[in-house]
Each structure stands twice: as C-alpha cells, then as structure tokens.
Amino acid sequence: MNDSASPMPAEQQAAPRHGRTWRIAQLLLQGDRPYMLYIAFAILLVVFSFASPWFLSIDNFLNIGRQTALVSIIAIGMTFVIIARQIDLSVGSTLALSGMSAALAMSHISDNWVLGAIAGIGTGAIVGAINGFVTTRLSIPSFLVTLGSLSAARGLALMVTTTRPEIITNDSFIAIFGEGTIFGVPVPILWTLLAVIGGILLLHYSVFGRQIYAAGGNPTAALYSGINIRRVTTLAFVLTGALAGLAALVLSARSHAARPDVVQGMELDVIASVTLGGCSLFGGRGFILGTLLGSLIIGTLNNGLVLLGVSSSLQLVIKGVIIVAAVAFTRK
C-alpha cells in the first residue's frame, strides 16, 4: 500500500518456511523503514573514515564500544519500557544511586565483588519497581513519576556520602566490570553483548515479550485478552532499573570510584538511541538490535566528532540536529 511494505517482499514470501535465515532477517529488519537505520549507520562510517585517518581502526571501534556500553545497556531496558507505551526519565539518577550503593556495600559491609554487584543491580531494580508500581497502581503518567524519581534518586545519591565520591578498591570488581578483557575484548563490551542477547531472548522469544508488545500496541485489547498489564509494565521498569544498576557497576569499576554526580542528562542519549532504533513512542513497536544500532550511531557520532576536533559545544548542536533528522528519516 505504501513504501513501508516494499523492503520486505522476499521475507514475506519466505515466511511459511520459517527458515533460520528468515528468522535472522526478521530480527534485523523491523520497524517502519528498517533499512534506513543501516544506511544511516553506513553513511556515518564512510563519512568519518574519509574525514579522519584514526577513525577506521580496531582500537577506535573498541573505544566506541566501551564508550557506548553504558547507554547501550540501559537502552535495552528502555526498549521494553517504550514498547509498553511508557517512558523512564530516571535512568541517569538510578545509575548514580546504584553505583553509590555498590561502592558503599563493598566498603562498609564486606569487600566482595558479588555483594557490590547485588547491591548495585538490586538498588536499580528497586527504583524501577517503585517507578512501575506508582505508574500502574496510582495511574500517574510514567513521564511524571520518573521525572520525580529522576530528582529523588539523584538527591539520595548525593545525600549518602554528602556529595563525596566513594572509592572502590576491590580488584576483582574492577576487573570483572571495568578493566578486564577477554580475548582482547574489553569487559564493558562483553556486558553490552550479554545485555543485548538477554534482551533479544526476552523481547523476541519469551511470553513476557509478547505481552509487552500487546500492552503497548493496544492496552484495551491486551486487557480483553487477559494480559495483566500492570504486572507486565512494572516488570519492564524493574528490568530497566536493574540494567541501569549493571551500567553503574561498569562505570564505577572503570573509574575506580562511584560518584553521585555522574551521567546527568544521560536519559536523553538513552531515549534517543531507542527511538532512533525504530521504537515508536506510541508503543507496540521496536526491536533490540535496532536499539543497539541506534546507540552505536550516537556513540559513533560522538567519537567521530571528537576525532575531527569539533568543539564540544558544537558537538551538542550537531548531535541534536542529526538525531532528530535521523528519526525523521527512519520513519515516514
């Protein structure tokens, strides 16, 4: 009927066979005009390769991967929240609070990396649970609820140490979440991959994923089909909070300390990645690999602009314009 259908005739005809290739193609190609996302990424790579001699190298790509890890990990969770027709503005503050919680648990209770991990991810999950619970039980728009927790969680993070950073000395923690490498791949990238794989399984292969899509695609129809929308929505917030906790571990391990004032304004990069990746803010549409690609596009843009020596103020302007333009192009 319109051009939205045109890129996929081959896939559609192959549908009844459900071969592996088709299923992989299905994972890669979703959204309204999915191919535009790949084209945008390719253009970006080509432009920067020509513009900067340092851009096209394995070291630089690992660098981009490390830099985007935080945003990518949280964006996986945000994909669930946005598909469920909600938003979570509190992820940056949740990350800060989770980092403080992890560092404090290790310095005050027991110097054990497992405890730090549990404290960090657990704190994030609790913030998410509160977001989800207040949103679904009190029927307050999640935009407002998480705007509140954006402020409250940041305040708590600043309060616990009266704004001082908390040093992390646990070497296992630092190696596992921040500085270690496996086969030359830095662990932040591996954690990102883990989050992506987990996200794909959960969103595209589990019952929970189906319920999330339905809850966001048409809440009334989902209700009439017996879906517990409150529960499903709350779980999406918990997942996002927990992933913000994981991101906090990565960040604090890399900087050997948890700081209460980190990643202010990060929610914008996360939401930009998710929408750039083909998620509809009206719910019901989106996919994990799109989100990853969206986050990589934003990360590559940051990296390339730095390499080109663009001033940081101008970087912000260019980034803003390109994000809006890219979203405009990737949908009708």
């Binding site: 459900h18 292969y205 019952v207 989902a222 209700l223 017996g226 879906i227």
Partner: protein, 539 residues
C-alpha cells in the same frame, strides 16, 4: 457565506431545504446506497430509520462531505451542490452532531461554542466579557437553558449534547443532522434534548433525526423516511402511521424467509464442506434444555446491572436483545471479569465464578469477542499470528519461553479453519478487511474450544459473505458443545442464531423467550420497544 437566493428560498415554507434524489454510493464491491431519496422542509423534524447497514450513516457522511456520492443529485434550497469536503458542506449550511462528542471538556460552554472564533483585542487577547455576552445572546435567542460559564465536564450528558448542538448551530445552519442523539441519554434527559430540538426548528432549521428508538419518532418527528438495504423502504407522515407499519418497513418482507432460516443458513455453511450442510441444518436446534445449565447468573448487580438472572445450557445459543445502553454489553463484561460483581453470583458448570480478572475467566474457559474489534479485539499494528496467540499465551509457552513453531502452526490452522483471507500469518491485521479482522478475533478463541463464548455485536461492519461464515463458526461451536451468549442489535441475526432470547431493559432481564415463540423480527422489535411505556405519542 450564504447566497441571497438561498435565504429567499429558505423563507418560503414549501420549498425543501435539502433534496436528495437517487443518490448511489459504492464502496469497493459493496453497494451501500442504491439510489435513495430524502427531502427535508424548513422547521421539520424528519426521522430517518433503518437497521444497521441500511445506508443511513453512508447518506449522513455524504451530506456532511466525508464521502462523495456516485450518481444522483443533492439540492440545497433548489441549488445543486456537490459536497467535496466537510468544509463545503458546512458552508452550504449542513451541520452534523455525531454520537461521540467533540467538545473540549475542561473549557466552559461559552469557550467551546466560540472555539476558534473568539472575539479578540488587537494584541490577540480574548475579549472574555464580549465572548460570554455573544454566547448568552445566542442561547437566549434559541431559548436554550445553558449557562455559558459552566465547564463542560461538570454538565450531565444531555446538556453536553445540547452544547454540541449549539456548537453546530453557531454558524449559518439550515439543516441539522442528529445521529442517534439519545443513545446515551436517560428518560429525563431525552426531554431536555427534545425541547432544544423544538426550539431550533421554530427558527426554520430542518432536522434529520437518525434513531433506532421508534417511540421517539412519534414524540418528535413530523415525517419519517425508512431505508432498507441501501434503498428507500417507506415514507410516512408521522401522524398517519403507527409503530407496526414502521417496523414492517424497517424489517422488510422477510417473514417468510425467517420461517425458512434453517435452509438459508445451511446453504451458506456449504463454504466449508458440501456434505456437512444438510447435517448442520438438521442439528441447529439441539434439545438443550434438559441438561444442567453451564452458566447461571443469579441476581448479579453492579454499577451498571441491577439483578440479572438467566442461565445458558450446553450447546445453547442465547441471545441478549435490548436497546443501546440497556446493559447488554455490561452483562458480557461482568461475566468476563472486566466489571466487578457487587451482589449475586455467576456459576460456570456449578462452580462459582470469582473471576475478577479476564485472565481467570479465560482460564475457566470463557471467551469474549468484544463489540469494538479495533479498540478491544485487536492490536492492529501486529501480525495475525501475534493477535491469535495473545489470549492463550500460556498454551504456546514452556517455562515462559514462547514456542514459536507451535504458535505459528496454530495460527495457520486457525486461519484455514475460519478461512481468513490474508497472504500469511505474518500479515498485519490493519491491512485486512473488516470481515477478515472479525474472523481473526474469533480465531483467537478457536482452539481449544471455549466452554462459554460471549459475542458482542459479532457482525458489525462485516460484509454479507463474511457474516454468513461467522454464523457458521458460531453454529459449529454450539454443536461442539460450547454455550454461546450473543448480544446484537441486528434482530434477524438473533433470530437466525439463537435458541432463546432474553430482553434486557435497564440493566436486568425483562423476560426470556424461546426462539420458536417469535415468528419474525417485527415481533422481537415489539418485545424490545414495548417494555418502555410509549408516553405522549406525537406532540
């Protein structure tokens, strides 16, 4: 805006304000209008009657400029007009008040009436006092009892509707179209609306009044036009006709056909298997009453229901007939767990149904095909397969993981069994026709068969072919032992499907009748209409 000719013409009482002659309209392969005529005089309330799908809404949409017409002509005050757009139709003086209101609820009545044409100062500020003065003058002039200062959301429904009518009248209006204006009103509120309509007609405006409630026709209208199957089926002066005559015109000469409903339906079920239809025909009326009831409602009450009592047997198709707003839909919603039960009990196979959530109802084997498939039945953006598996996800999963192959297999089977016409199961539901979409909603409950199937207006907006197929699906389910409760405003539909029919009035069951006791749709129409006292016939 108004041409001088038109003004002169409008002042002459005999020349019609609007004259529709031989208008036809085809949507795809469906002939919605086969040449209809309608004429409205100044100061007249002209009732337009007909069943769902008779062509009333199509004509209204043509008059309001939403659709264009194929052949025929429309004249306004003797001048031929073509309504290419809603703006053009508005300019010609035709205003439509739709069922769903278009008011900004948080604003005052005055602000709503002047929305977009507020008197302003040079700096662009609203002259509040002047605005209210203009609105007050308008309301006084039309003799309409509304306070322009009151916010719309604090008004009872009838007054909101009155505001809507006023908004439609604010311009230069000659013909006012009211599309089922009383469907959401209570008895007292109706009177308020009727007074407003009379005030309007006194000023020479002609009103086209679309309704399903026949007693209103006698209370408010001077003339009646009846549509049936996209054509004129009768034209009456209200004072010279009676309800029986009107019902006959609405339902048409199908009484003989009703007697032979078994044959009709058998012929269409052929769709699936040629050999099966004779069998189908003979099995339609199972002697269900001997078995213990599958579903029993005793004295069920909540905010919308007041003491509902009825029972349904295994394999029975039980109809719920009544006016819009009588509580038919709410009965189904309460059984399905969408509305809470305050008083009374619902028993399914002897076990009380404490279902307060649809998920529990589904687990107990209850299925609901809701009234509005776009809003309640389907996720339009998603594939057929996704929609089909939604209510039965536990069935297609192990340990929380989706069994993709089983789900896809089930979707293909269900599509084949219900003959859903679509390229494959990954087609988005929004690309399907109304009939195929409705079949998808049915297919959600295809396997395993539910014990109790609740249907709310199962064939609204569905073309004739798909309708017959859906009837086949319902009968097949009943033969396989499913008990069915059908809510429908289409009386022929109820008569064709049901073994028993209950009449719903004001949130409770007025009476239950055997199908065999009703000879034709006209009788059923009387049963639905007559529980309401016909006070002050014709004014």
């Amino acid at each position: 805006m108004s041409e001088p000719v038109a003004v002169a013409a409008a002042s002459s009482p005999r020349l019609p304000l609007i004259r529709v002659t031989g208008v036809t309209k085809k949507f795809g392969g469906v002939q919605a209008l086969r040449g209809v005529d309608l004429e409205v005089l100044p100061g007249e309330v002209h009732a337009l009657l007909g069943e769902n799908g008779a062509g009333k809404s199509t004509l209204i949409k043509i008059l309001s400029g939403v659709h264009t017409y194929d052949e025929g002509s429309i004249e306004i005050a003797g001048q031929k007009v073509a309504f290419e757009s809603p703006a053009k139709s508005r300019e010609a003086g035709v205003a439509v008040v739709y069922q769903d209101l278009s008011l900004v609820e948080s604003l005052s009545v005055g602000a709503n009436l002047m929305l977009g044409r507020e008197p302003r100062t040079r700096l662009g500020f609203v002259r509040q006092r002047e605005l209210m003065a203009q609105v007050s003058a308008f309301l006084r002039e039309h003799n309409i009892p509304l306070d322009p200062r009151v916010p719309v959301d604090s008004l009872p429904f009838a007054y909101r509707q009155m505001t809507e009518i006023c908004k439609a009248l604010m311009g230069d209006v000659r013909v006012l179209i009211l599309d089922e204006p009383t469907s959401a009103l209570t008895g007292g509120e109706e009177q308020i609306l009727f007074d407003a309509i009379r005030a309007v007609t006194k000023r020479g405006v002609g009103v086209i009044y679309v309704t399903h409630r026949l007693n209103e026709v006698f209370r408010i209208s001077q003339r009646v036009t009846v549509f049936r199957d996209g054509a004129n089926a009768g034209h009456f002066a209200t004072a010279e006709t009676d309800m029986k005559q009107l019902v006959a015109a609405i339902v048409g000469p199908r009484h003989a056909a009703m007697q032979a409903r078994r044959e009709t339906t058998g012929g269409v079920v052929t769709q699936t298997e040629p050999g099966a239809d004779a069998q189908t025909a003979s099995q339609v009326a199972p002697h269900v009453a001997h078995s213990a009831p599958v579903l029993t409602l005793s004295n069920v009450s909540n905010a919308r229901l007041s003491g509902v009592n009825f029972s349904v047997h295994k394999g029975e198709v039980h109809g719920l007939a009544g006016l819009i707003g009588s509580g038919r839909t709410e009965i189904l919603q309460t059984i399905f767990g969408l509305l809470p039960i305050h008083v009374g009990t619902i028993n399914l196979e002897g076990q009380p149904l404490a279902a307060h959530r649809p998920a529990d109802a589904i687990r107990r084997g209850i299925a609901l095909v809701p009234e509005d498939r776009h809003l309640q039945g389907l996720v339009l953006d998603h594939s057929i397969e996704r929609n089909l598996t939604l209510p039965r996800l536990p069935q297609f999963s192990r340990g929380g993981w989706l069994l993709a192959k089983a789900a896809a297999q089930q979707a293909r089977t269900a599509m084949k069994q219900l003959s859903v016409k679509a390229p494959d199961a990954s087609t988005q539901v929004k690309f399907l026709s109304g009939g195929n979409q409705q079949k998808v909603v049915f297919a959600k409950w295809n396997h395993p068969r539910p014990k109790l199937l609740l249907l709310d207006e199962p064939t609204v907006g569905v073309d004739v072919g798909a309708r017959e197929e859906i009837y086949g699906v319902v009968r097949d389910a009943a033969h396989a032992g499913t008990s069915v409760v059908v809510v429908s405003s289409d009386l022929d539909e109820l008569l064709r499907l049901c073994d028993r029919i209950s009449i719903v009035v004001d949130g409770s069951i007025e009476r239950t009748v055997e199908r065999a006791q009703i000879r034709h749709a006209e009788e059923l129409h009387h049963l639905i209409q007559l529980p309401r006292p016909v006070e002050e016939l014709a004014t």
